[in-house]
Symmetry: C2
Subunit: 138 residues, 2 copies
DNA sequence: CGGAATCCTCTCTGATACTG
DNA sequence: CAGTATCAGAGAGGATTCCG
């Protein structure tokens, strides 16, 4: 066996990392919010549009299509007039809900610390190129 | 409380969602991989560069700076010649490691199903010969 | 060794308007 | 109601070069 003290080859890569694969699925701006809108069962397109603040029809459609393609969401079409389309999580989609909730929980608990850290970092590395001591804004 | 049968106001928004906040931190392409490089303790800049396959110096610096600003990573400078810089997770960063691992685990277990789903979706909706999709694996 | 600065491309996202 | 189509802007990411 090589007992060389160095010689380490790359062992962390995008293609072998499960986390990166998940990011490929849920790192979009709206994906998580849309999934949350479905966590209590079937919900109509327009209802999601109303419940998820700020999302546009274009982005909702795009998000929901991708989730459907990935097998996380199902589409139920009722060909009435006007048409009614409902969405719900697939069993696979439900399994994703759990780890997502844990990450969400982390955010709820710790995000304030992150915000604080950013503030102190920014004041330490004072982007302020001239005011050497205090903040002489305006 | 209003017992009206409808009238639901948006209750899912980017600003109140802990998950979206976390995405703000770790949804970048390299962030997770860089964090994984540090999960066993202090590691030098160049060592991260070698271990994380495909990352450039620019992206590593950018990623690590953001993590430092967010309070998830610490920088240890040893002013030798040439300089030596080591990085490690902060206690806050370590707490993030856990939920990330669960998501990574989900990816390891379920990503194949997602890939399958994509394939069947694409063949079902086969828009002429437009397979100009994303090829991830090699 | 560990960056910073520059340039450039490509994807994501948003606004707007039209349709079955 | 549930989309589609089109255009435009912002920013993430990459390649290259230079520096203490």
């Amino acid at each position: 066996m090589p007992s060389s003290s160095k010689a380490r080859k790359p062992d962390i890569s995008l293609s072998n990392c499960g986390y990166s694969k998940v990011l490929d699925i849920i790192s979009n701006k709206w994906t998580a919010l849309v999934i949350y809108a479905m966590e209590n069962g079937k919900i109509r397109y327009g209802e999601v549009l109303r419940r998820v603040e700020g999302i546009s029809k274009k982005m909702l459609t795009q998000t929901v299509r991708k989730l459907e393609r990935d097998g996380l969401v199902q589409r139920h079409i009722t060909p009435t007039v006007p048409p009614s389309v409902e969405y719900s999580l697939t069993p696979l989609g439900e399994t994703l809900l759990q780890p997502m909730k844990e990450l969400r929980q982390w955010g709820r608990v710790n995000y304030d610390q992150v915000v604080e850290s950013r503030a102190s970092y920014d004041s330490a590395y004072a982007t302020d190129s001239r005011g050497a001591d205090s903040m002489n804004e305006i």
